[in-house]
Amino acid sequence: MIFAATPEAATLLVELGAILVALALLGRLAARFGIPSIPLYLVAGLAVGEGGIVELVTAREFIESGATIGVILLLLLLGLEYTGEELTAALQNNVPSGMVDLVLNFSPGLLLGAVLGWDYRAALLLGGITYISSSGIIAKVLEDLGNTGNRETPVVLAILVTEDLVMALYLPLMAGLLIGGSALAIGIEVTVAITAVMTVLLIAIRFGDKISAVVFDRSDENLLLSLLGLALLVAGIAEHLQASAAVGAFVVGIALNGPAEHAARNVLGPLKHLFAAMFFAFFGLQINPADLPPALALAIGLALVTAATKMATGWWSAKEAGISTPGRIRAGATLVARGEFSIVIAGIAVAEGIEPELGPLAAAYVLILAVCGPLLARSADPIARQLGPRLQRTPTTR
């Protein structure tokens, strides 16, 4: 007998099954109310962690490994969404809006960390958490609202691509800083890591076609094993070089294109749903719900400030692109949602244990903005209409 041979194995199955059923029910609930499932997965994790309603004992280890794979799949599929050309175009065209975005949205987190007297690395991590919008949630919102073809949408997408590229440098930088040591050692570490990322990124953009042709296979089974194996290998090597596993997986996603990309999305999509859910639940699991209420006031304040700064970023960038007022409001409102990336960054902080307050604060912050972001995006058009029909006729330039 392979399965359920020991009582422990039986418990593992029961715990794992129960948590997956719970996640499924929460996902349905989220869909009914038109909110993303990420915040509910976090809540589920909170409920089964230390200090939660029930504490998972046996399945915890499995979920932890699942969470590691979840990050890799999240980033791999994010990379698949982009082609090399889109990234190089982003680098050439989006510098002004990318800078505005970075300055307006990184600063609030960084400053709050500094005011609280945190370690500078914890403050930098909080800056990253408030900086990065959720590509996943926003893509879903654009699709659900039928806004993909809107003229402000390229502006929104350009900001998201730029943020994802910034992450490819930010994560190795943070990994280097977190190891610590002398300034020189950190400098060397970070330079090596970032050089490695840039080199691999260039290879991915340059030779993506060839790599994809080699990886592609008509059999879903072979394709799944080659893709997952390749992603885990590159991610693992990247992690060893302190360049962050997530970034490694992202680059693999970028390298794939053509038939391999299409097929990868089909075979890896379901796996991503499973493991990404585990990742969000695991983050919740590491946080004691009792720590949330004290962090709530700060989280609400930070959410309000950074919702405003994202609105301003979207408004400014849309205005630069010649979009009229309703479109500027939509662009701003759409960008407010924070989600998976903020949790990836917060997860690093929790794993390193550098600042005990950061985990609960980040959890509460993401819970608020992952729920309110899409709601705000949904109400952008009604808000614009409330502001008066005069706005609707603002002349536009292309």
């Binding site: 039928g146 997408l157 990309e261 009229s324």
Partner: protein, 163 residues
């Protein structure tokens, strides 16, 4: 001639849109993969899509046919450039083509029509100077050189639907 705007949507695909003489603004989103979406803009807020319809690649082809003739004949009209009796043209290999999945050699195009395939375009990637062993795939575009009559015959052969 209508001026069509092309906008890249990173992570999504490409948007083409234009304004009709009626003042209506319409567009097509070509998603990565082969999904197409037709969008119509709100007359009161020209930045906003008010209506959209999603279709598969096959449905989009049907829709294009309904809107006006076959795209193949239009391509022939628009793109043919004659150079002293020599014509060059771009022939799409439709998924219905009997030659999708065969090699260039197997089409015997040159002996049957006198037309040579000088390049293939697959996705965004050109495959210049393909040999007879090169496979043709659905949705490739064959760049062909020959006489006007030869190319017309070749277009018919390559696009013929199976009986």
């Amino acid at each position: 001639m209508t001026q069509i705007h092309e906008t890249k949507l990173p992570g999504v695909g490409t948007l083409h849109d234009f304004e009709c003489q009626s003042g209506d603004r319409v567009g097509v989103i070509s998603h990565h993969g082969d999904r197409r979406e037709i969008v119509i803009y709100d007359p009161n807020d020209p930045d906003r899509v008010s209506e959209s319809a999603a279709m598969t690649a096959d449905e989009a082809r049907v829709f294009a046919d309904l809107l006006g003739g076959t795209t193949v004949t239009e391509r022939l009209d628009n793109l043919r450039q004659e150079i002293d009796g020599l014509a060059i043209d771009w022939l799409p290999i439709s998924p219905h083509s009997p030659y999708a999945g065969t090699t260039i050699g197997e089409t015997a195009l040159r002996s049957r029509t006198g037309v040579s395939i000088v390049a293939l375009v697959r996705g965004r990637r050109p495959l210049p100077a393909p040999g007879p062993e090169q496979a043709l795939m659905a949705d490739d575009t064959a760049v062909v050189v020959g006489t006007v009559e030869g190319i017309t015959a070749a277009a018919k052969l390559l696009s013929r639907r199976p009986r």
